[in-house]
Amino acid sequence: MKDGDGQPTRREILTGLLRTSVTAGAAGTLYAVLRERPGPAPSAPRTFDWRRTGDAASGAIARGPDPAVNVRRAITAIGGMKRFIGTGETVLIKPNVGWDRLPEQAANTDPQVVAELVRLCLAAGAARVLVADFPCNDPRRSFTRSGIGPAAREAGATVFHPPRLGTVPARLPGVLSGLEVMALLPKADRVINVPVVKHHSLARATLGMKNWFGVLGGGRPRLHQGIHRAIAELGAAFRPTLTVVDATRILVANGPQGGSLDDVRQTRAVAAGTDPVALDAWGASLLRLDPRRLGFIAEAERLGLGTGDPRTLEELGTA
């Protein structure tokens, strides 16, 4: 059915088109039917709890010039990493990588503390160790200049940050409602929170529970309107396996990002433990604040998240 110059006729074109569309439609329908149906978006739990059940609260403070040694001593004193990390588990380490600052400026967690934790987790049998944060500054710069990206990778962790790391919806309670959380959170079996001790003009101190700001998506600036309550609610919404407070250096003014070395004090200490409130109270005392007069610590105690008394932590002294 060709005409003179070998071109297809209109009829042929129309039949061809019809045949193609019917085939494509059938294939599409088949795909739609056979494809695994995603149900309604999986609702994340209202709160996240990564604690090892049945553990009595414990904590220890180690002092000395080498941050990695401090980490090892503190962890050993509370029973060793094997007590907290099971074989084959996925561990998320959440340092404070908020700012495009050098380690010496004490705006971020010390990279050696993070790297040592990565090594301890891997040695304890963790299948994967993830290091992630949502920085306030450009993520690439923050992870590089803080030294945490290179140090964690070298220690064997996988490092995640935006733009490749996104958020997922989470039905968090109270003042946190409507905020999304870091997409890695639901995938982690264990989470270690690794804050650095810093001054903060509104909360007066930014420590472990405040460090959970870094797993929240957009909209988190509005939490400052009732900061003490918000920090305590963060502590209730995210219950870590371990909290490791980095006080290798602390930032005593111009927090939370500082800049000047005049605002940095060399405290050369690391504390680790399972009571986030006691550890925050210890960090606050380093900033010469009375822990129980800090709104967020009092609020956290009231919510039953721990004790605001830093004396519950075992002092290991200088190595």
């Binding site: 306030c136 733009p163 909209g219 600036p221 400052h224 309107q225 111009n254 990002q257 070395l261």
Partner: protein, 503 residues
């Protein structure tokens, strides 16, 4: 496919790939000092435009001399073998090639419309003489980079939205898709770079040569002709893109590309009436000032035209910026956006910072590294932050809108702007106060103030302010370092507040 057709396609794809790879690396924050602007540095239209408008050519643009020489030797090889926008059009045109030979011949015949590009060039030259560099509007390299940065990269999940980008993307799409109808319509009819190279190509040493005795006037040479330069008749040398398709398509081996200098070109002058050309140039000379005045003029300072750090003073900036938006592609936070009306008519599609889209990262100097023409001068981190003993580079100053600010207007605690402020000591300081709430109770508040001597206008405060899409703290160009007229503070003999750690 003849071997040189394959060779040319391969060559074009390599150049296109390099162009795209550089853009991708720039957006990905590659820390190597790659030659981000190498294509723009090889662009003689940019060099000529800067010579007319700025009366100086940055050294890096010396690379364009290579393209000038290439054109004087072999004609518009750049158009047919290098230009990535030409390649994209050609790929689309190849895909849409009609099967009927007669239609293909029709699409590749010369049309009077193709003279338009010389008028475009005359218009842009007229504006450039007046000091308004607008070549970037239609320069193929700027047009492509801008369209990709504004409308293609934002589609990737890792890049933020570009509110003004759709317009640049629409022009790019129109240019590329027009080739469905007429191959390389933009190159043939509108490209000012093509017109400029065409004028040079009239003197080229190598050119298409036809053996009149062998030619049977079959027209086959037009079948795949990229430049619509009619090798069958009197060859239009300034239109030829040296694609050499005619050589392979000629069944009589009548066409060669060979060394034949000094032959008079056809037509003897560009195919324009002198009246048209001079009229366009004169029109440009008149229209330029009209548009400048209509856009507010150069003496008017635009509050929202916050230029990237290191940008030269506005007058010089408009003489140099070729609107390629490489700076936008380089910006890690997405703050740099193409201006629509914020910078006047002349400043259309020049880069400005939109602090709700991003902010100027304190230690970042990427935009100046990418800028091909020195409209944004490269800065060291020390120079930008004032660590070298000088004043830091300010791109503007933040102002608090007390009616919108939570502690000022609504007796609600908030210190986000202060927390984010990167300077040391912070340019935003807090004043402790006790305020009354509607129910009569009191609340302790810290109210933010901006210290204009310390603020560098980076805008992270505006970016993170929790109040609505319009922030309660906003940056304007007031106080920007590059403009003496923008200084609001009288210089102080006592500079005790400079330096660090003295709060």
């Amino acid at each position: 496919m003849s071997w040189w057709r394959r060779l040319r396609l391969l060559d074009q794809l390599v150049f296109l790939a390099i162009f795209l790879w550089l853009l991708e690396r720039l957006a990905a924050g590659d820390t190597r000092a790659l030659p981000w602007a190498v294509f723009h540095h090889a662009d003689p239209l940019t060099a000529a435009g800067l010579a007319l408008a700025h009366h100086a050519i940055p050294v890096a643009l010396g690379l364009s001399l290579a393209v000038v020489l290439l054109t004087l030797v072999g004609g518009r090889i750049f158009c047919g073998w290098i230009c990535p926008l030409g390649t994209l059009q050609e790929l689309v045109a190849r895909w849409a090639t009609p099967r009927r030979l007669r239609e293909r011949l029709g699409r590749n015949r010369w049309r009077p419309l193709y003279r338009t590009k010389y008028l475009v060039l005359a218009l842009l030259a007229g504006w450039a003489i007046l000091g308004s560099l607008q070549t970037g509007l239609l320069d193929p390299l700027s047009l492509l980079a801008r369209g990709l940065a504004g409308a293609v990269w934002p589609l990737l999940p890792v890049r933020g939205p570009v509110p003004g980008g759709w317009l640049a993307g629409a022009l790019l799409a129109a240019v590329i898709l027009a080739s469905l109808w007429i191959p390389r319509l933009f190159c043939r009819a509108f490209c000012p770079l093509g017109a400029f190279l065409g004028l040079l190509a009239r003197f080229s040493l190598f050119r298409i040569h036809r053996e009149d005795g062998r030619c049977t006037a079959c027209n086959l040479c037009v079948t795949n002709c990229q430049g619509a330069d009619e090798p069958l008749g009197d060859h239009r040398i300034e239109e030829c893109m040296v694609c050499l398709e005619c050589i392979g398509d000629c069944s009589e081996q009548a066409i060669t590309w060979r060394f034949s200098p000094g032959r008079p070109p056809h037509p003897a002058i560009p195919d324009l009436s002198r009246r048209h050309a001079l009229g366009t140039l004169a029109g440009g000379l008149v229209l330029g000032p009209v548009l400048r005045v209509a856009g507010g003029g150069r003496t008017t300072r635009h509050a929202d035209a916050i230029r990237p750090p290191g940008a030269v003073p506005e007058d010089a900036f408009l003489d140099r910026c070729v609107k390629c938006m490489l700076c936008q592609q380089a910006c890690p936070t997405g703050a740099i956006q193409p201006a629509l009306a914020q910078a006047g008519v002349e400043g259309f599609w020049t880069p400005i910072l939109s602090m709700r889209r991003g902010w100027c990262e304190y230690t970042c100097t990427r935009c100046g590294e990418a800028c091909p023409t020195g409209a944004i001068t490269p800065l060291t981190v020390e120079r930008k932050l004032g660590l070298d003993g000088g004043e830091p580079v300010r791109i503007g100053t933040a102002f608090i809108d007390r009616g919108m600010c939570l502690p000022w207007g609504m007796a609600t605690p908030c210190i986000v702007c202060e927390e984010m402020c990167p300077t040391d000591p912070k340019a935003i300081w807090l004043e402790e106060t006790v305020a009354r709430r509607p129910d009569g109770s009191t609340v302790r508040l810290q109210r933010p103030h901006v210290d204009p001597e310390r603020c560098v206008g980076c805008g992270i405060c505006e970016n993170r302010c929790p109040v609505g899409e319009r922030a309660a703290i906003r940056v304007t160009t007031a106080g920007e370092s590059r403009s003496p007229a923008a200084q609001m503070l009288a210089p102080r003999p006592d500079s005790s507040r400079k330096g660090t750690g003295t709060s």
